[in-house]
């Protein structure tokens, strides 16, 4: 006897329970424990948020020229506003601020087409940004040719320095990390050992030690009088240090790629560089985007450590401002502002990585 000779139609799901009350009930007060925690969270938010907002915005002083203009009850943002030039550029001469500005705008302008779908020369533009642009930026900011006045790196500072340190660190440590990760998985024992020793060495020492060595010890090995730029030394130190972390993140991705992918690309006749570049790395890097961005964010925040070797990044500039006898006692404003700037950049990186993951998602694996 046929059980059901007609195809069953697909029915719509049961009338869904919508509305805010239902949502709250379902998500915040679904169980006794959940309800208690939700209540506690709400109380905490009500206790903390209003005074914080009041301090930072409603009772805050936004304009004025000196201490006397500050409102006692709120944050005094004049402190930051007065020094905004230093916060952005360090000791870079004010009349030359257009040079780093131009470099920044140029980078933004060059990057925009990368996000336009119908733009066809993304690879070339990307290569230009990575290979040619750094030289343009260097000549603009440092000067010394095309009639531009030299501004020595000792005068660079503030947010500009933070961004330069992290951008160079990020751009240089990723390819180095990839090479180290591939090296660590190499079948050639010597090559592999070199990579393992490198990674384990740099991962085993604190960044502060690296920076101290770069600024204090390294010059001892150079001939008397030879001046090796301090910023460059810090950059090299940060890059070498972070590339070791990057290598391990990338290696994790490489290990997650099934053996069949290697075999299929080999069987098709792809040699090692092509098989890595076209098949394995695109998949492996996609898998470890969260780890890579995690390392980038750590690197971004670690750049603050350069203050101990006498470079004035954003945080160091704020620290310096706090010692101004005119403005003693504005630590809260200074550090809250610095934290906010760092948070904005880190949060942007985090959101970008999520967007990138979504974009590169090509359905189910394998």
């Amino acid at each position: 006897m046929p059980v059901n000779h007609k195809k069953s139609p697909s029915l719509p799901p049961p009338a869904s329970e919508v509305g805010i009350v239902v949502w709250v009930k379902k998500n915040l007060f679904s169980t006794y424990a959940n309800g208690v925690m939700s209540l506690a969270a709400i109380v905490l938010i009500l206790l903390l948020l209003p005074p914080l907002l009041d301090w930072a915005f409603f009772s805050a002083t936004w304009s004025g020229s000196n201490r006397a203009d500050c409102n006692e009850d709120g944050a005094c943002w004049i402190f930051i506003a007065n020094r905004i030039d230093q916060v952005f550029y360090g000791f870079y001469p004010a009349e030359l601020h257009w040079r780093p500005n131009l470099a920044g705008l140029l980078l933004i302008g060059l990057t925009i087409p990368l996000f336009i779908k119908s733009f066809h020369y993304k690879n070339w533009l990307g290569a230009f940004i990575l290979i040619i642009y750094p030289f343009i930026a260097y000549f603009l900011i440092h000067g010394g040719s095309f009639g531009l006045e030299v501004v020595s790196t000792t005068k660079w500072g503030g947010l500009m320095l933070t961004l330069i340190l992290s951008a160079v660190g990020i751009v240089a440590s990723l390819p180095l990390g990839i090479l180290l990760a591939l090296g660590r998985r190499s079948k050639m024992p010597m090559f592999k050992s070199v990579c393992v020793v490198y990674i384990e060495f740099w991962r085993g020492i604190p960044l502060i030690t690296v920076l101290f060595m770069a600024s204090v010890m390294l010059p001892l090995f150079f001939p008397e009088g030879s001046d090796f730029d301090k910023l460059l030394r810090a950059l090299i130190g940060i890059t070498l240090f972070q590339s070791a972390y990057m290598a391990e993140v990338v290696r994790g991705g490489l290990q997650a790629i099934p053996k069949g992918q290697y075999e299929a690309s080999e069987a098709l006749g792809l040699n090692y560089p092509k098989s890595m570049g076209l098949i394995i790395l695109p998949q492996a890097l996609k898998l470890v985007i969260p780890g890579i961005v995690n390392t980038f964010i750590a690197l971004f925040k670690d750049t603050t450590l350069v203050l101990i070797i006498g470079l004035f990044d954003l945080l160091a500039i704020i620290n310096l401002a706090l010692t101004d006898s005119e403005w003693l006692g504005f630590d809260d404003e200074g550090y809250v502002f610095a934290a906010f700037v760092f948070w904005v950049f880190c949060f942007a990186m985090s959101r970008y990585s999520i967007a990138l993951e979504a974009k590169l998602h090509t359905g189910h694996k394998r």
Binding site: P258, G260, Q261, E263, A264, S265, E266, A267, L268, G269, L270, N271, K274, L278, I279, P282, Q283, K286, L360, T362, G363, H364, K365, R366
Partner: protein
């Protein structure tokens, strides 16, 4: 050596550590032959065909593909891999590329074929395996049978002289096996030289001109399909055949 011998394995031995996986394997394949290799799991059938394109390395004996001997020499390996296509049990399509990109990748990057031409070739083979409409999808969006047909087309795009099949239907749901086998039958009818490791005895009877039975790393019996299935000589072959026919 006759020019018609496209593949020769002479006294091939292989060890995994101390484990002797291939023992004195001798196979000669003429152009246009369809060879089926069967045997219980762990008998070395997959290892044998994986040695032919050097996914596995043999330690003793000689493997000659289309006049080129496989040694450790990378040039020889690359040469042979251009001539030999391979289809895997788990398809091994590249999940980050579309179907069309999966097919054009090797012709473009290994044979330096122009992109437009590679795409034309790819579409030709996609039509041949009857899924041209899936060209812009990603492998993850296709069924297992479709993926395996794409994998076959991907190999064909390199215009190989020999196709190796490593249990191409073992990972498929039953209703998808025949769509893959149909493609393989057509391929055989067109005169492609094929070596298939498979448990599809129906396919072997229909297509193969020789069946090789392996057990414990050696070739136990080798015969044309009729004799092989109806009149197996060796005890182990008889046991194997009785076991797979029982169910």
């Amino acid at each position: 050596m006759s020019a018609e011998h496209i593949i020769e394995l002479n006294g091939v031995h292989k060890w995994y550590g101390d484990f002797h996986v291939l023992k004195d394997i001798n196979i000669t394949v003429q152009k246009g032959e369809r060879i089926v290799i069967c045997g219980p799991s762990g008998s070395g059938k997959s290892t044998t065909i994986r040695c032919i394109n050097h996914l596995e390395e043999h330690q003793q004996g000689q493997i000659i593909v289309d006049g080129t001997e496989l040694t450790g020499d990378l040039k020889h390996i690359e040469q042979i891999r251009k001539e030999v296509g391979m289809v895997f049990q788990h398809f091994n399509l590249f999940p980050h590329l579309t179907i069309l990109e999966n097919l054009t990748l090797a012709p473009i990057w290994v044979k330096n074929v122009a992109k437009a031409e590679a795409e034309a070739i790819a579409m030709k083979y996609l039509e041949r395996v009857k899924i041209p409409e899936q060209a812009d999808k990603y492998p993850g969006q296709l069924s297992g049978g479709q993926q395996q047909r794409v994998a076959i087309a991907r190999s064909l795009c390199m215009n190989p002289k020999v196709m190796l099949f490593d249990e191409p239907t073992s990972a498929l749901d039953p209703e998808m096996i025949s769509e893959v086998l149909d493609v393989m039958v057509e391929l055989a009818e067109d005169g492609m030289t094929m070596i298939c490791v498979t448990h599809e005895m129906g396919f072997a009877k229909k297509v193969a001109n020789r069946v090789i039975f392996m057990d414990e790393g050696e070739i136990v019996e080798e015969n044309e399909p009729n004799e092989f299935f109806n009149n197996p000589q060796n005890e182990r072959t008889q046991l194997f055949l009785s076991q797979i026919i029982q169910h």
